[in-house]
Symmetry: C2
Subunit: 725 residues, 2 copies
């Protein structure tokens, strides 16, 4: 390693020397917060930033991962607050025709009435977060490509296995700054979770899909769960004998008013962002990936709708897939619009150019630049087949019968290895899931539609330049539209995989038996499999190379930012992060101003009496009564009583996974629960644009009012140390 | 006439005694403005209110009726400013494939390049407005029902004929306060109108249907025309020898800045409002008329779409009708939503109850109340058959072939009378239009769809209670679904009216010849005609009774309002009116605030490159350049140059027909041109709700900037006495 590279690496570890960070952008590791103490204080935080860095201290030890998203302990008896939509599976699991908890909501009158969650539902408390970069990279050093990838993978698996030797813990390795650093994350896994309080769906999900991503918003998207443990205080499966878990700390719900401009911070588990990707990746995303995704999904939607136009049964079979395609398309278009609005290609390109120019002035820049150039070459290589890769992914993932045939062949192939060495997704424990998928294919399939979809996608594949072609695909599907039609007709006339029982029995067959099958689709899948495996290998080799090479880029970026007096947070990766900012209005477009707080008046305005705007009668009555007590915001509304707020908007930095994140005030009190972003912020996974990035929260005063006046639960208010009204 | 009634009538004529009127609501006759001088002054008007009352003085004599809407003279040489959409027919008339003025806009380089409008296009200058109530009602006194109606009708026709004896004038009688007063309106009719300056459609109609009724808005909806007269100064048909008309006055476009809160007033020709209808009519409109209109149109749309689902040609034939149905439905739903939001049933009911309670305290209330009760009885009688009347109107108006057959029979029937006594719409001068309709039926018709539509509507008719049935309809269509199907099948199998030539020859036939026709649809129409004529008679008799009786209600309302210190403007009836108010923001719903001025930034934000958001390149370039000169609003935008405004919002009281109305500032200078309302105000034809009623205007600074910097016309700026940049 050259001097320069060592120097850059050293810089990356000395964030504490940094000055002012960019305002409000940032999903900080708690351990970084002391490094940006000055900015945190300047923004209005009244606590000690270094307390926030300690996972074992309040408030961080009160923040949990729940149902794949975020939440927090809000009482000393293991009460967990998260979103209604995060706990939705638990509510659904406990609903029956004669007791519809989705529709009616639920209030457990006492602990004995708290209802067990589905057995796979988890509350995870992060108890350890240790840097193990040297251990993870020890074997990888000197390797390249697939070798580098496999070395990191093995070291990761070993570290996880060792960590999980202690029962009751789930462990994982988090990759920070794209292979620069690795952390071992250790989480206490609470397996007995129970439903305590849920509002009716028409409150928790008020506005439904129509209001999804929309501001102004009026949802009471919260639910209270409780974590239980065995009598020994250790994680346990559900048992009536279990006792409430005593968390090391819990958050106190605030009883103060909050208003525009107030400091706010949030902790949670954001899923994935791409903010530090290279300029060429930004350009590819905006100039090719998103537009071509829009075109791909539009084409698939049109094809399915046209093929199913005269067949009601086919239309029903594909309804869910089409709906999902439309969501994907809408989201891609929103992301594209947002990134264009933010001029993201130019902004990132200029920023990278400035970094490279700065790097030029540093000693020993050549080695760094060589690594960056090598990373760029790997990316370029991937982009050379991007059209093909997109089409083949759609062909193999968005069909039902062809996908089933490939899955059956792949499973047989993997079964030839020891279970631990099988590809993820094809291990013994995955077979239940695969069986489910094969069964489900039945309800989602019509031969004419699948053939039309394949014809549509493969016609595009056939039109690609020769360099993007794959021999096995050419053989199986032909190289002209005429051949394609004949091949597809023969394939679907010659398969019995449309029969569910046959699919399931094929799944049990070994590779040798399958090889003798005369089923045309199974034969086609067998011919395609080597190509699929080969492309997967190539993809892992590229991933390995990028894992090896990207740290040069990241370290240069971190050092460059340091020269600008700015800290760098790692891109989101489902680990615990903190962001801070304030309650913020928004001007989404010329002539329109969004107020940062909504009131119950908006519930009445939106109410139509039909889903998703069917406010329950008790809520409408309580609003009409106007008895808001201690939960009213005095600065809003026309009456001297003030107005009852519902949701509010902050400029906090969030992404998917931050659902249920607790929002804290300057004193660390819980003022809201994060549950969504605005539509204009859909592009924030790539670029944080302070003009448009907002997060949407349920105001805790709305929760308190509902629990005090509308669907009363005085015992829970008391448990949370909150006033009864 | 009782003493009380005379007293109330006297009060109605003494509006000058009134105190404060309700703020901002009101479409005032210019003659009323001195009566509300105090409020006008208090609102910020700096001129003399009594000057506004004079039609022969500025500014009123500069306000014109143009192309059915409103406009104003803006130079001493007859330059008329109105909306792009009001002048659209003129632009279209002058467009050719090789010279697309709709797409490209138009700038006449000099007067010789000004392009003649379509020959029926008119600019009308109101020169007389005289109360002739006594003359109109002289013969009607003592009569009732149809007799009253015919007496008013004859007196009206006589007054118009006498007034129009002077060439160059068009006259009409305006009914104010529902039969309380009648005015003879005399208008100079300028018949040679020419196109001078039009922006490209992508500016004039930026946002198109998508932005229709929408705020924030970004359309440059203006066009300049010029009125010409003969060399003798009198109105004349187009001739190259004509000379520009010299108006008695013109408005000066303002060069000052305008901002939120500034005084604004507007003059124009609002079409029709229903604000002073009785409480029962409000209840009927909101509780029955609008919901049932929504259901009726939704049913017709569904029927046509379903019947045409498998027939592409039928779908094309009905596309325009379905689009128009969808517009009607959307508007009805918007009106319904708005009236519910404003709680209009309750508000009007409480207001009327208060009026009646007040009336109780007056001397001689009995006679007034008797008339009001009689009016209510007439309304009740009409409502008793409202379902039937709605269905029969749809059956006879929304079909193509059946309607053609009825039209042919009706025309033959009317031809039996002297031309002057024929029903309006069936006179000799109407036959060109009828021929056109009969030809058009060809392109808008498919037998299966028309039969399905009739089956759908008549099934509802058949299900009505007996009291609503009409013998002739029962005979022709049967009284059960089975009979209906058989009758419709026979009718459409036995008609040749699908043949255009046959329709046109049938139109020429006299009643005797038609009576011998064995065409099934013509026979059906002949059977239905007596019922249609009878219902029409009944309707005119009701109209006559209401004309006789409503004045009692209106006079009571006016007197009641006087007791509250408020003046009453008559409901709109396409006569010249004035409203005043201010530039106003709006809070359309919880959490959303609309700024009252938009800027060119919004054009860039909305630009997609595709209609209706395809801003022309010169406009985008000029915006990017940011050279806004004297037309920038210094208080807006981020730059020190300020921002270029586009449109603005006022709380002025407007309705359809106010398109092109000049908007004046406190000094009477022209600051904007009205062109639309916001969606929330769609219900304002029934109720003015100050929270939601806004009018949308083109800021004259945007027009000036376009004419100075984007599509320059320095000669026109000079003519309007405006700076060159």
């Amino acid at each position: 390693m050259s001097t320069m590279r060592r120097r850059v690496l050293a810089l990356s570890l000395s964030l504490s020397m940094l000055g002012a960070a960019q305002a409000d952008e940032g999903m900080w590791m708690p351990s970084q917060l002391p490094d940006i103490a000055k900015q945190l204080k300047a923004a209005g935080f009244k606590g000690r930033p270094r307390d926030l860095a300690e996972l074992a201290r309040p408030p961080m030890n009160a923040v949990v991962k729940v149902g794949g998203a975020s939440g927090a302990f809000v009482s000393g008896d293991g009460l967990v607050l998260t979103n209604h939509h995060v706990a939705f599976g638990v509510i659904q699991y406990n609903s029956k025709p004669e007791r519809d908890l989705i529709r009616d909501g639920y209030i457990a009158a006492d602990r004995s009435a708290e209802l067990p969650a589905n057995p796979d539902y988890r509350v995870l408390v992060t108890t350890g977060f240790d840097r193990i970069t040297d251990r993870i990279l020890a074997d990888a050093k000197g390797k390249q490509g697939r070798g580098y990838y496999d070395a990191v993978d093995s070291a990761t698996k070993a570290a996880v296995a060792e960590c999980e030797r202690e029962p009751g813990y789930r462990c994982s390795v988090a990759n920070m700054y794209y292979g620069t650093d690795f952390y071992l994350v250790r989480q206490l896994e609470l397996r007995d979770v129970r439903l305590v309080y849920a509002p009716p769906n028409d409150i928790g999900n008020y506005g439904g899909e129509v209001d999804n991503f929309v501001w102004p918003r009026h949802a009471g998207d919260f639910t209270l769960l409780r974590a239980y443990v065995g009598k020994d205080g250790k994680p346990a499966d559900y048992s009536p004998d279990n006792v409430p878990y005593t968390p090391p700390a819990h958050l106190q719900v605030s009883t103060r008013n909050v208003k525009e401009g107030d400091f706010a911070m949030l902790a949670g588990y954001p899923g994935v962002t791409f903010r530090h990707r290279m300029a060429s990746e930004f350009a590819n995303q905006i100039q090719w990936q998103l537009p071509s995704r829009v075109a791909l999904y539009q084409g698939m939607i049109d094809t399915i709708e046209s093929a199913g136009a005269k067949d009601e049964a086919a239309r029903v079979s594909y309804a869910a897939q089409v709906r999902s395609f439309k969501n994907t398309l809408k989201r891609a278009q929103g992301e594209l619009d947002g990134l264009r609005r933010s001029d993201a290609v130019r902004v990132r390109r200029d920023d990278e150019a400035a970094m490279l120019a700065w790097l030029e002035q540093q000693r020993d820049a050549a080695a760094i630049k060589a690594d960056i150039a090598s990373a760029q070459a790997v990316l370029d290589q991937g982009m050379a087949t991007r059209e093909r890769d997109q089409l083949i992914a759609a062909i193999t993932a968005q069909t039902q019968l062809l996908r089933s045939a490939i899955t059956v062949q792949r499973l047989a192939h993997e079964r030839g290895k020891p279970d631990a060495q099988r590809e993820a997704g094809y291990q013994q424990r995955d077979e239940v899931l695969i069986t489910g998928q094969l069964k489900q294919a039945q309800r989602r399939y019509a031969p004419a539609v699948e053939k039309a979809l394949l014809a549509h996608l493969l016609a595009q594949y056939q039109a690609l330049p020769a360099a993007q072609h794959v021999a096995e695909f050419d053989t199986v599907f032909g190289t002209t539209p005429v051949q394609l039609k004949a091949k597809l007709d023969a394939m679907y006339a010659g398969t019995k995989l449309g029969d569910e029982a046959l699919r399931l029995s094929a799944m049990q067959a070994d590779a040798a038996t399958l090889a003798t099958s005369n089923d045309a689709l199974l034969q086609a899948a067998a011919s395609l499999l080597p190509a699929i495996l080969r492309m997967e290998d190539e993809s892992k080799a590229s991933a390995g190379e990028l894992l090896r090479l990207r740290p040069a880029y990241m370290k240069a970026l971190i050092a460059f930012r340091e020269s600008q007096g700015r800290a760098v947070y790692p891109d989101a990766n489902s680990t615990l992060r903190v962001s801070y900012g304030r309650i913020s209005a928004m001007d989404p477009r010329d002539g329109v101003h969004y107020q940062p707080l909504t009131t119950v008046q908006g519930i009445v305005e939106k109410h139509t009496g039909e889903e998703p705007f069917n406010a329950p009668r008790p809520l409408l009555d309580a609003i009409a009564k106007g008895d808001f007590g201690s939960t009213a915001e005095p600065s809003l509304g026309n009456s001297s009583r003030g107005a009852q707020t519902v949701d509010f908007l902050t400029n906090l930095d969030t992404t998917g996974g931050n659902s249920g994140s607790p929002v804290l005030d300057a004193q660390g009190k819980l003022i809201a629960l994060n549950f969504d972003s605005n539509w204009e912020a859909v592009s924030a996974s790539w670029m944080f644009d302070p003009r448009y990035k907002r997060a949407i929260h349920v105001d805790m005063r709305y929760m308190r009012w509902l629990m005090a006046k509308v669907y009363p639960a005085p015992h829970l208010l008391k448990e949370m140390n909150l006033p009864a009204e």
